[in-house]
């Protein structure tokens, strides 16, 4: 097969490319320039591009850099900033996967005549045969599984996507890279948001782009005013840090953020826990077919959250996930990945908390 592999300059995509070469595919590597500003690896992530290019040299494959900064600004950075302004907590990696890697890059891969697009995600695609659907499954390494950030992929994409390292543990990936002498073998995993430099931080990044508003902090059990925060746009539902304990010494968490009334409501773990998470109806995706109303699912509420049994109920305002026992609140804007209770490694769909 002719395969285009997206190489970020990290160890996972380096080894993904190596696996494809070893399998005998005709492989071409591409690194996306997504952010024109400064990043932790230099302007335009030059250091990462150099690493990807060197790995491609060692593997004997051609390597290109594709400039997708405009699309990234439009589809990822802009919405990220806007969501924060609306007191939501978006997941930019998922939006990048949705709009850039598995949309624009996949289209490009098609136009250039490739049979498949590969990435270094820790998840697995099981190609359906004989009319059976293609399956998206959790990666083999439970600590590194990234099926959550791919949960919005549908059949259209899965048909053309390869995830070569999904069957390997992270340790095995690093061992393979070291064995091949790749300079990315011991490179630390990427952290946080790629377009925000760690020495700048989210608060400064957003502070330069949106107006930050002071908000009063009130107690969930009543309307007792507990103090104030400087920027409600930087507060996340479920957050604990920065809020005083309750009088009985129990920790307090953010239950909700009201950008209009400029209020942050906090409470103890019991007070903020919820039995239901409403999903934005326009955000629902299905890996194959839509689930029936009331279907049992296993919901994962964050990138490394614990899978939790739930039912997906259609509501007047959109679908709602109902849990048998209270769960921690989910910040609006966060993606919820849905798995099959009969085979909880299999992704069935995704949605974004309303």
């Amino acid at each position: 097969m002719k395969v285009l592999v997206a190489m970020s300059g990290g160890v996972d995509s380096s080894v993904a490319a190596a696996c494809l070469v070893a399998q005998g595919h005709e492989v071409l590597g591409a690194t996306l320039k997504l952010w024109g500003g400064s990043s932790d690896s230099g302007c335009c992530s030059v250091g990462d591009v150099d690493d990807a290019r060197r790995v491609a040299q060692q593997l004997g494959i051609a390597h290109y850099v594709f400039d997708m900064t405009e699309a990234f600004e439009r589809s990822v950075v802009g919405p990220y900033v806007a969501a924060h302004a609306a007191a939501k907590t978006p997941n930019p990696c998922i939006e990048c996967n949705r709009h850039i890697k598995f949309d624009r890059l996949l289209e490009r891969s098609d136009r250039l005549g490739f049979d498949a697009l590969a990435t270094g995600h820790h998840a697995r695609v099981l190609r359906g045969t004989g009319g059976r659907p293609h399956e998206l499954r959790r990666g083999a390494d439970p600590d590194k599984d990234q099926s959550y950030v791919l949960s919005m992929l549908g059949q259209h994409q899965l048909a053309r996507v390869l995830l070569p390292i999904g069957g390997l543990t992270k340790a095995a990936v690093r061992a393979r890279a070291a064995e091949l002498g790749l300079r990315t073998a011991a490179k630390p995993d990427s952290q946080d948001v790629c377009f925000i430099r760690s020495d700048v931080g989210r608060a400064s990044f957003l502070g330069e782009r949106v107006e930050l508003h002071r908000a009063s902090v009130v107690d969930a059990s009543g309307t007792e005013e507990l103090g104030a925060v400087d920027a409600l746009e930087l507060v996340t539902v479920g957050q604990r840090r920065g809020f005083a304990r309750a009088p009985d010494g129990r920790r307090r968490y953010v239950k909700s953020v009201d950008p209009v009334g400029r209020t942050v409501t906090v409470g103890t773990a019991e007070e903020v826990a919820t039995l239901a998470v409403a999903l934005d109806p326009g955000s629902i995706t299905w890996t194959h077919l839509p689930l029936d109303d009331g279907a049992a699912v296993v919901a994962q509420l964050s990138a490394h959250g614990r899978p939790t049994a739930a039912r997906l109920i259609g509501g007047a305002d959109g679908p709602v996930l109902r849990f048998g026992a209270p769960v921690r609140p989910v910040a609006p804007g966060q993606t919820v990945a849905l798995y099959d209770p009969a085979d909880p490694d299999v992704v069935v769909g995704s949605g974004i908390a309303a």
Binding site: T31, V46, R111
Partner: protein
């Protein structure tokens, strides 16, 4: 070049027989380069390439002018190479303070749709405080030749203090610089554009023009450029420049005909194709085309796979293709600029290669459009 990495390994600045042999090669090369560029041997400053030559021209001139005090200004065309534009912009931001350059106004002068500098706009941009004007001999991307004689007349009448620099890096193989840059004080060239080694270049500093050094140290090159001579590179530069001069007339005709063949074939066979500048206004080596609706990044991948090595605009540090500032300055719509590809021909290009390339390009564009 080879002996200067082995038998004649000595430092050309030394005081022994080995050093004298190396120095002799440097000075013979200096004479060759000077005569081919219409300059005196003492006018030649060897550098590590075009970028350093441009930096020495820009920063060296600004630093020398700054010694006299008072506000200074510089002007260049909007289509200059980044090696001229960026040091000028950096200096305007105050980054040349280390060279003594204080407040600096930089005027980037408009060009026509063909990429030719607007002489009226140039005249208006110049004044008593203008100390440097930089206008390239030929553009590296689209190949447009600049009317340097006319530029020189405007500069001499409007900016009597100004030093006139031309970046002749792209033009050197196909244009006789001895005559066509005679009116310029500073001229940059680079060996690699002449088929010589990468990492060797020169700046002509024509008497009585004075520049301040940018690199300080051992005082080589008459205190204008410190650093041990790259003897092999210097010999390579002189040899390449000599070879280009010897075959220039024939090569201009031969390469120009091949370029016309490529352009004519593609303009006829590929719909919605436009050439960025008229052929009589550009270097014979340049074929710069736009294929409407096609993304240059995708086309370059297809061409590479088909064995055609082309380029698009210039690359940023990461290797990504940036929107061409040259095309934007020529008034090309940014979207349209993303469809441009530059085919550069050279002394090794054959008619068979041209016909093969034309076929590969036509097929690739057709494939990407379908």
């Amino acid at each position: 070049m080879a002996p200067f990495g082995s038998e004649i390994f000595a430092n050309a600045s030394g005081a022994h027989a080995g050093a004298r042999a190396a120095r002799r090669a440097v000075e013979e090369s200096r004479e060759v380069v000077a005569s081919l560029l219409g300059a005196r041997p003492s006018d030649i400053v060897f550098t590590s390439g075009g970028t350093e030559a441009d930096h020495l021209a820009v920063l060296g001139t600004l630093a020398a002018a700054a010694r006299h005090g008072g506000p200074i200004a510089a002007a260049c065309s909007r289509v200059e190479h980044a090696a001229v534009l960026e040091p000028l912009r950096a200096a305007a931001r105050g980054l040349a303070a280390v060279h003594g350059v204080g407040t600096l106004r930089v005027e980037e002068v408009a060009v026509s749709a063909e990429g030719v500098i607007d002489l009226d706009a140039l005249g208006e941009a110049l004044g008593e405080d203008t100390v440097l004007v930089s206008v390239m001999r030929a553009n590296n991307e689209v190949g447009t030749l600049q009317p340097l004689d006319a530029v020189a007349r405007v500069v001499r009448s409007r900016a009597p203090r100004a030093v006139l620099h031309t970046d002749a890096v792209q033009a050197a193989a196909y244009v006789d610089l001895a005559t066509s840059t005679a009116g310029c004080d500073l001229v940059s060239i680079s060996a690699h554009k002449l088929g010589g080694p990468k990492g060797a270049g020169a700046l002509v500093v024509r008497e009585p023009c004075r520049i301040a050094p940018v690199l300080h140290g051992g005082g080589q090159e008459h205190e204008r450029r410190s650093g041990t001579h790259d003897v092999a590179g210097i010999v390579g530069l002189a040899t390449a420049l000599g070879a280009a001069a010897k075959t220039r007339d024939d090569e201009c005709a031969r390469v120009g005909a091949l370029r016309d063949r490529l352009a004519d074939t593609l303009l006829a066979s590929v719909p919605d194709t436009a050439q960025s500048a008229p052929r009589d206004a550009v270097l014979p080596s340049h074929c710069h085309l736009r294929f409407s609706g096609v993304d240059q990044e995708e086309l370059l991948v297809m061409l590479d796979r088909g064995g055609v090595y082309a380029s698009a605009g210039s690359s940023c540090a990461s290797g990504a293709i940036e929107p061409s500032h040259v095309l934007l300055a020529m008034g090309v719509d940014p979207r349209e600029a993303r469809s441009a590809v530059r085919f550069t021909l050279g002394h090794t290009t054959t008619v068979e290669e041209i016909d093969l390339a034309a076929g590969v390009v036509a097929e690739a564009v057709g494939g990407l459009r379908s």
